[in-house]
Each structure stands twice: as C-alpha cells, then as structure tokens.
C-alpha cells in the first residue's frame, strides 16, 4: 500500500509545518475575527436585510465567514506546492519511488485537516453572534469543513501543477479565488442578487458549501419573533437565505470534491517538475 503511506507522509509534513508556523495560526484566527467583529458588526448596524427583517446580518454572515476561512486556508495549503517548487523541495518528492497521485491526495488531506482545525477555532465564536451549538452541529460542521476544504485544496493542486512561480499566485487569487468567494453567497444572499449574478452563483460550487454550512450552523438555534420562538433554520429557508436541502448541498460538494481531486491528481502526475 505504497499509495496510502505516501498520502500519510505528505499529510504528516503539512501538519507538522502548520503546527510550527505560529504566524499562520495567528493570521488564521485574526482575519476572520476582523471580518466578523468589524465588518460584520458595522454592516449589521448600518443596514437591515430588506427581505428578512428578522435575521440579524451578523448571524447570516457567520457561516459565510467560516466558509471564507476554509476557502483561504485550503487554497494556501495547496499553493504551497509552488513554494516547494521554488525552494527545490518538490524535487525530493518527485524523484521518490512513490505515485504522484498519492502526493496530490496527501496535499488535499493535509489542507482539509488544517481547515478542520480552523473551523474548530471559528466555531468558538458562535455565542458572540447568537448561535446555539450542539454536539450534532459540531460533528456535522467538521465533516462539512473537511469535504469543502478537500474540494478547494484539490482545486488548488490542479492550479499549482500548472503555475510556474509565486508571481502567478496573485493572479489566481484575484481572478479565481475572490470571484468564487464573492459569488458564493457568503456576504450577501442570493435571493436579492440580480439575475445575471444569480446564474453565476448557481454555477459556483462554493455556493453549495456556504449553503450547507448555513443549513448546519442554523439548525440548533431558535430566535424570537414577536412573542413566539421560531427555529432559525425555518426562518432562513422561508426568506430564501438557505436555498437547498443539506443532502442536496452535500451531494453537489461531494461530486465537486471527487471531480477536482481526480483532476488535481491527474494534472499533478503529468506535470514535469
């Protein structure tokens, strides 16, 4: 089982290096905190979601912020391949008697593990935004984070196999990752977006990831409207903030993860050095 061992080896290195990079961990916690506490609070105070007067913007945005941190963490993990190439270390891996697809999968698992840690950190902020947690919610969230991150890291591997240098990285961030994020429904609801944008949002696989995150994170919380307590999930669904069922979201994500992982492994095993 040389393939499995290779996956484990690559994963272990990713994990070790992650644990050693204190700055990365600080950035990982700091960035979403900034979004949530400053951007989220600010927007939430300045406007009301017009169609959904009952759901606070901060609550709406919270799953989107988790999605964002998973997206960025994963893409950084995958693009470390370019870093490894520039510093020569990639050669050590490429000359070893191991299958390249396993190297690619090892990267994806590494990225997914780190994203899960990120989610674990993020979920501790739930009380600040008025979200109630349960064991089921936590487990579902970790599984979702893993799946979402696995898909995004595989996409990153696919890109990294083609990229030559760190300079091209900025292009990828600006013209692929940011649009994917903006169109995912993380920052604003799809329901109120213009028609042309809706089309793009439906195509964006990340949309389903964010939708799934909302499905899970909202599932344990009840809010009070007038006199009665109502499940947050139901309110979000009726007002169009959640569009699909969790099962459907997961199905799409699973498909995307499988396709991207296969494509990533394929393009990585075909890249020369």
């Amino acid at each position: 089982m040389i393939g499995l061992k290779t996956i484990y080896t690559i994963w272990l290195r990713e994990f070790k290096i992650f644990m050693r990079e204190k700055f990365r961990i600080v950035a990982m916690i700091g960035q979403p905190l900034l979004y949530l506490l400053i951007l989220g609070r600010g927007i939430s105070a300045g406007m009301r979601l017009n169609s959904t007067g009952n759901i606070d913007y901060l609550r709406f945005m919270y799953p989107g912020i988790i999605g964002m941190s998973i997206l960025f963490t994963s893409i950084f993990s995958a693009l470390s391949i370019i870093w490894d190439r520039e510093f020569g270390f990639l050669k050590e891996v490429l000359v070893a008697p191991v299958p390249r697809w396993a190297v690619a999968l090892g990267k994806s698992f590494g990225g997914a593990t780190i994203a899960m840690i990120q989610s674990a950190i993020m979920i501790t902020m739930a009380p600040i935004v008025g979200i109630t947690l349960s064991v089921v919610v936590l487990i579902e969230l970790f599984v979702l984070s893993f799946l979402l991150s696995f898909a995004v890291t595989s996409l990153g591997v696919l890109i990294a196999a083609k990229l030559e240098s760190m300079q091209s990285f900025q292009m990828v961030m600006n013209f692929l990752i940011m649009p994917l994020y903006f169109l995912s429904g993380a920052m604003f609801p799809m329901a109120s977006a213009p028609a042309w944008m809706k089309t793009l949002m439906v195509i964006d696989p990340l949309t389903y990831g964010v939708d799934a995150l909302r499905n899970v994170i909202f599932s344990g919380t009840t809010i009070t409207i007038g006199q009665s307590a109502v499940p947050l999930l139901e309110v979000a669904r009726t007002s169009g903030l959640i569009r699909w069922t969790l099962a459907f979201d997961v199905l799409i994500m699973f498909t995307a993860a499988a396709v991207l992982a296969a494509a990533g492994a394929y393009s990585f095993s075909r890249s020369n050095n």
Binding site: I2, K5, T6, Y8, T9, L12, R13, K16, I17, R20, E21, D84, F87, G88, F89, L90, K91, E92, V93, L94, V95, A96, P97, V98, N273
Partner: protein, 325 residues
C-alpha cells in the same frame, strides 16, 4: 563484474537541440565515476534521464539491472540523488528531513534510527540533528543532502555538481565523505563537475562536450594522452611559428602565452633557453592536468565555456551544424 550502469546510445533532444547526442558508457560497481564538461554539455540532462526524471528521446540504459524506460520505480528505489540546487525543507529539522525521506523510500521503522545516526555521523552532522535546516550553512546543507541520499542504501548515488558554490575547505570535506562512502559502504558514485581539479578524485572520467563523450578513462591515462609535460612559454609572437618548426610540437596560444607538450620538460628548458636566447621571457613546466586534456580534446579551455546556458545551447547548435558535414 557486471557494470551497475550501462548506457547505450542515449539521446535527448529539446526541440531541435540535441542536449545529449548518442552517448554510450558503463560504470563499474563501487566506482567513483565523473562526468566532466562545461555548463550545458549535457551532464545534468544525462543524470535526469538515468534518474527517470526525463524520458530519453531514444536509446536505452539500465541501472542496477533495471530499465530506465520501463522500470522507473525500481530505478528510483536504487538511487540517491543530490541536486545542484538544494532540495531540503528548511522549516524542518535535519532529523525530520531524513524521516520524511525514509518514509518516501520505505525504509523500515526498526532500522531507521540506526541508519539515521550512521549517515549523520558520516557527514559530521550528528550534533546538529535536531536543529532546523534554516540554521545550516551552505556546506552543511549539502552534506545533509548527501546523508539523505544515502539513507535508503542506494546502489548508486548521483551527485550533480556537489561542490558548486562551496568554499575550498567544504569542497575537500565533501570529497573526503564521498571517498569514505565508497570505501565503507561500497556505493557507486556518479558525479558531474566542471572543476578539473575535482575530477582527479574519480576512478574514471568521461569528458563530455556538446552532448557527446569525447574520451573516457582513468585520470592518469587521460593525462598520459597529452604526451609528456606541459611547457608554457611567454615571448614574442614569432615564437608561434619558430617553436613548432624547431621541435616539431603542436602549439596553442592561450592568454598570450604558448602552450605545448614535450617529453622530459625539465631537461628541455635549458635547450629552449639556448635556442631562443633573448626572445623567451618566461618558461613554466607543468605536469599535465585534466584541463590540458580537455583543451586537447576540444580545442578550448573549459572556462571559456562558462556563459549563460542559453548562449551555450545556441553555440552548441551552431557547432553541431558545422560538425555534421
């Protein structure tokens, strides 16, 4: 003894340019074999093909009995590679780099600790094993890479310009380790270099230029090809005609001085001084070096060749067209 590396008319073309143009040679097991040639001569390309990193355009080669074209995994398991550029993870410690390598090369867990210590001791890095590689000097990194390349007990260790950019002291230390390695472990060492003095350390040398092997032999035999000692004379320009006419030697002008070979150089000096009294300004007698062998084989000094790789390839292409008549 069957050779551990056997290469038959190996060719690698990049587009129109032949980087390696039909080379054949074999390397005996346990030897230190050197590939000597200027930058762009095809040394690294050959190593890459033998290490299954590049597919040859044509030709075949076996390494430890495995075909480089069809049995790449077995070939990779049988070789250790030390690249021109560093390939360590500087964020990990020396130990961790070795551990990563051991896992990729399937070194059994129960022998890892002993092997790790063995290779680290061999390159004198045992006391630094827990330090992050980012704190290592260039020479230490290179030594660690050599140790790493040996960890899975390869049959052949490839060293691509192992001493490039290192100070003379470190270069000597690395050579000391390479010889120790051959003597203690019996690993075959295949190395490339463009330092002439370094090539002297090899058991066999192949001189490669423009993708072709010009000569292949022991350093001593190669130098014997030169025929006698080397005389370097400084003096007036007419000497370029007069010396060959008088002594029947082949003369080359290098940096304003005249180089030629003659038997028993020390006894020749008084004769030269008598024959060309007043015209000769300086005389040096030298034992022939590999530099002279290279000069004789290719008509150029190896240092004249050092330019950008692209220039060399262009020049190579021109020369090929001329040589193909």
């Amino acid at each position: 003894m069957t050779p551990i590396i056997q290469v038959e008319s190996l060719v690698k073309q990049f587009g129109e340019l032949p980087a390696v143009n039909g080379i054949s040679f074999s390397v005996a097991s346990g030897a230190i074999f050197g590939f000597l040639g200027p930058n762009g001569a095809g040394k690294s390309t050959t190593i890459k093909m033998l290490a299954t990193l590049l597919k040859p355009t044509s030709g075949k080669a076996t390494l430890a009995g495995f075909d480089i074209n069809s049995q790449s995994n077995q070939v990779r398991q049988s070789i250790g590679l030390v690249f021109q550029d560093p390939s360590l993870d500087i964020r990990l410690t020396a130990d961790e780099n070795l551990q990563f390598h051991a896992m990729l090369y399937n070194v059994p867990k129960d022998v890892f600790a002993a092997r790790c210590e063995q290779v680290l001791r061999m390159v004198d890095l045992l006391d630094r094993r827990s330090s992050p590689v980012s704190t290592f000097s260039g020479g230490m990194k290179r030594r660690l890479e050599i140790a790493r390349g040996l960890l899975h007990h390869p049959k052949v260790l490839f060293l691509d310009e192992p001493t490039l950019g290192l100070d003379p002291q470190t270069r000597n230390a690395i050579w000391h380790h390479v010889r120790k390695l051959r003597d203690e472990v019996g690993t075959t060492v295949f190395m490339t270099t463009h330092y002439m003095d370094e090539a002297e350390n090899c058991d066999h040398i192949a001189i490669i230029d423009h993708g072709k092997i010009q000569a292949i032999d022991t350093p001593a035999s190669l130098k014997r090809m030169i025929g006698g000692d080397k005389i370097i004379v400084g003096g007036d320009d007419a000497l370029a005609q007069d010396i060959p006419a008088k002594y029947n030697v082949e003369l080359q002008k290098v940096n304003g001085e005249f180089h030629f070979q003659i038997n028993s150089g020390a006894e020749f000096v008084p004769r030269l001084v008598t024959d060309f009294h007043g015209r000769v300004k300086s005389i040096q007698v030298k034992q022939p070096s590999l530099e002279d062998v290279f000069l004789k084989l290719t008509g150029r000094a190896i240092r004249e060749q050092e330019g950008s790789n692209l220039d060399l390839m262009r020049q190579g292409a021109r020369l090929w067209r001329g040589a193909r008549r």
